[in-house]
């Protein structure tokens, strides 16, 4: 029972769709979870659509209205600092939040609502339609079961008729795809016998096991040593190509997004503050927060010493959000109007592919990332920023060298490497 698809033809064939699944042979546990509502016309191939998603834990609003959609084969990057609600929103999509979480809005998978579904329905979706990769591979795998068993578990739960040998063969194949050397023997190893990077490959193998339509990767490389991040990203890319799935890549690391994603959604304080293609967001950021994030990346195209300019202040507490735009206390473009209301996402640069939530976005129109970056420079020389980092200092430590090297390996698609004019 091989479900492997032709590489290089993402989603072109053999995508097990819901109707087929409902009548799958031997499908004891098969759930026809969409039968109670008529199937919408398949005019677009939007797979996952999140609309106005809100998540609250008591009085704490972790996610305050996020909307996005992903299509087959596409990669969406979601960027934000910790506490911005990026992980919570993806857990809400998977139905993995504790019951104490109050979730509103809509999450549809191929037109079928997922929010509020019971465990039985969601179990049929998880791992089969939407798979997830978590941040810390050191703790994601159950320490007491062999790797092989942990992969076959997800195969068998969705294909009860699958034979032992069939499941084993598929697991082996998966391990080879994600690049585990000597996969045959390693099937019988326990998680603790693997390195962090290798474990994350195993998690990726688990995620792609049932040819999911969407893979959500929540900070998949953050916990890893910088030197192995790139290889794990490659494994993830291979998994996406193999399954033809849409990939939602959640990270705080812009460098990761740049190399992998086509579209980017920037989150701040539980909301999307800028949405657009990688090119738009990276070259022509139209929201000061995004500009700030880009500013804090080291520049590799300039040889002279440059300052990394961090965004001053800390992310706001979700319990006590500032009035108006939540970024306003940290924003260099702040004006009193910003405190009156929270800006909506609006089209910028005159096309409907790029959106930003800022009252003063006009200030940035027509500028590239470095020109826009100037807004953070003013006065930074004389203001005593506690966490200020001098770019050159980074290179004094071997650790920083590693980081720089890794950043170079990863960011082959980074805009900063193009022949751009120097800002100053």
């Amino acid at each position: 029972m091989h479900m492997r698809k032709n590489a290089g033809e993402p989603g072109a064939q053999g995508r097990p769709d819901l109707a087929k699944h409902a009548t799958a042979p031997g499908g004891v546990d098969v759930v026809e979870f969409e039968t109670d509502q008529p199937r919408p016309a398949r005019s677009t191939d939007v797979l996952l659509k999140v609309e106005n998603l809100e998540v609250a834990f008591g009085s704490l609003k972790a996610v305050r209205g996020v909307s996005y959609e992903v299509r087959r084969g596409e990669t969406l990057g979601i960027v934000g600092e910790s506490g911005s609600g990026k992980s919570v929103s993806s857990m809400a999509v998977m139905g993995l939040l504790p019951k104490t979480a109050k979730i509103t809005g809509s999450v549809t998978f191929q037109g079928d609502e997922l929010l509020g579904r019971n465990d039985k329905v969601m179990s049929a979706v998880r791992g089969k339609k939407i798979a997830m990769i978590f941040q810390d591979p050191m703790t994601s795998l159950d320490p007491v079961y062999k790797i092989g068993a942990q992969i076959t578990e997800t195969l068998k739960v969705h294909s009860p008729g699958l034979s032992r040998q069939g499941a084993r063969d598929r697991a082996l194949e998966l391990l080879k795809i994600v690049g585990i050397p000597n996969a045959e023997n390693r099937m019988n190893d326990y998680p603790h016998e693997f390195s962090g990077g290798m474990r994350q490959r195993v998690v990726i193998a688990i995620a792609m096991a049932n040819n999911p339509d969407v893979i959500i990767a929540d900070e998949p490389t953050t916990a890893l040593d910088v030197t192995v991040q790139a290889t794990v990203l490659e494994a993830m890319k291979a998994a996406q190509v193999e399954t033809g799935a849409a990939l939602i890549l959640i990270t705080h690391d812009l460098g990761v997004i740049a190399g992998v994603a086509e579209r980017v959604l920037v989150m701040y304080a539980g909301r999307a503050v800028e949405v657009g293609s990688v090119d738009d967001v990276f070259y022509r950021p139209r929201m000061p927060y995004t500009v700030g994030l880009l500013n804090s990346l080291p520049r590799l195209d300039v040889h002279e010493k440059t300052r990394l300019t961090p965004i001053t202040g800390t992310p706001p507490s979700l319990q006590h959000l500032p009035a108006g735009c939540p970024f306003s206390p940290r924003c260099p473009l702040y004006e009193p109007h910003c405190s009156t209301a929270e800006p909506e996402l609006v089209e910028v640069d005159g096309h409907d592919k790029h959106w930003a939530a800022c009252f003063r976005t006009d200030q940035l129109v027509g500028q590239d990332r470095y020109e826009a970056g100037e807004i953070f420079q003013t006065g930074s020389e004389d203001s005593e920023l506690p966490g200020e980092v001098i770019g050159d200092d980074l290179h004094d430590t071997p650790r920083a060298d590693l980081e720089r090297d890794a950043a170079q390996t990863q960011s082959t698609g980074l805009p900063g490497q193009g022949p751009k004019e120097t800002p100053r």
Binding site: S123, G127, M132, P143
Partner: protein
């Protein structure tokens, strides 16, 4: 694992030697094994002197210890190849034989109690942890805290009192036996089944008392480890794989949460073989605990040390078992 076991056994023997030395010298210097004889009216000083010589009480403690130690192990050519010889008690009866009988009685008492405690710990501990802060968890928590606060003999006597009331009020016969491990001399007039039934009715109260009290801390333990495991990332990944919630808790949660409990249980069970001295006293059982208590009363140092050795051997063996089980259940543990 074999090498580890051998090394641990050798280490255990050293510990046992040191313990036996310390306890022997302390008890032998404190106790007067002739005390029961001194209480005999008109006993002749000559008789006491003879007894002193007979019990080697006229020799220094160290040489008595050596004497005891050098006769401790009796090799034989039949299974189990060694016999322990703990010497004679104050009435010149071999201690080893008595301990064997006592051990059998005690085992009967603790097996049921351990099973009861084990089932309660796993069922209530897991439910309590999964339904954390819900009414059932609050109920279980209150129950365990009260059980932990109960002095053993008060609880045992309470059960005994309730059983007596139940016998008169509900059963109208002595259905629940409140003293002794079996009706005296029952083997002489009854067959196997009746003896078994008789022993069962004697077993109910001690099992309940010991089992509930033992369960209390195990339930707390299992609840804590369940809560910890439920929070683990691998539980989330298992659910993300599409495994149903209940199955995740059973297959991944329980399997992991049991690891610490099993080792704690093994250690506690080892200690129980020394006899539940108080439970045995309340229910007048002639088990290990009662043996120790009588040894104290008679100031019979050889009997005390015999008891210490047997119970220490069980403690040591079950500690070893705990380590081995831990290594078997948790692949991350390497025994070296």
């Amino acid at each position: 694992m074999l090498i580890f076991t051998i090394r641990r056994l050798i280490g255990s023997i050293i510990v046992l030697l040191i313990t036996s030395f310390l306890v022997f010298t302390y008890v032998a210097s404190e106790y007067d094994p002739l005390k029961p004889y001194r209480q005999i009216p008109n006993i002749k000083p000559q008789t006491l002197a003879n007894l002193r010589h007979q019990f080697h009480l006229d020799q220094p403690v160290l040489s008595r210890y050596w004497d005891w130690l050098s006769h401790l192990i009796d090799p034989t050519w039949s299974f189990p190849f060694i016999h322990f010889n703990f010497g004679l008690d104050y009435q010149n009866n071999p201690i080893s034989g008595q301990l064997a009988t006592r051990l059998e009685v005690t085992t009967r008492m603790i097996v049921g109690a351990i099973l009861l405690a084990m089932i309660m710990a796993i069922v209530l501990g897991v439910i309590s942890g999964v339904r954390r802060d819900k009414p059932i968890d609050v109920g279980v928590t209150i129950l365990t805290f009260i059980l932990i606060a109960l002095p053993t003999f008060w609880f045992a006597a309470l059960l005994k009192d309730m059983a007596i009331r139940a016998n008169t009020g509900i059963f109208h016969e002595r259905f629940l036996q409140v003293t002794l491990e079996e009706s005296p001399g029952i083997e002489n007039y009854a067959g196997g089944w009746e003896v078994f039934r008789d022993q069962l009715t004697h077993l109910v109260l001690p099992t309940l008392s010991l089992g509930l009290l033992t369960a209390a801390s195990w339930i707390r333990y299992q609840r804590a480890s369940t809560i910890e495991v439920l929070d683990a990332d691998y539980m989330r990944l298992a659910r993300a794989k599409g495994v149903r919630n209940r199955t995740v808790i059973r297959r991944h949660g329980l399997r992991n949460a049991l690891i610490p409990l099993v080792t704690v249980m093994a250690i506690d069970v080892g200690a129980l073989f020394g006899g539940a001295i108080i439970t045995e006293k309340v229910y007048a059982w002639n088990g290990m605990g009662d043996f120790l208590f009588k040894a104290f009363t008679n100031e019979d140092s050889y009997a005390v040390i015999g008891w210490v050795m047997v119970s220490a051997i069980f403690v040591v063996l079950f500690n070893l078992l705990a380590d081995l089980l831990y290594a078997v259940l948790d692949p991350r543990i390497r025994l070296t």
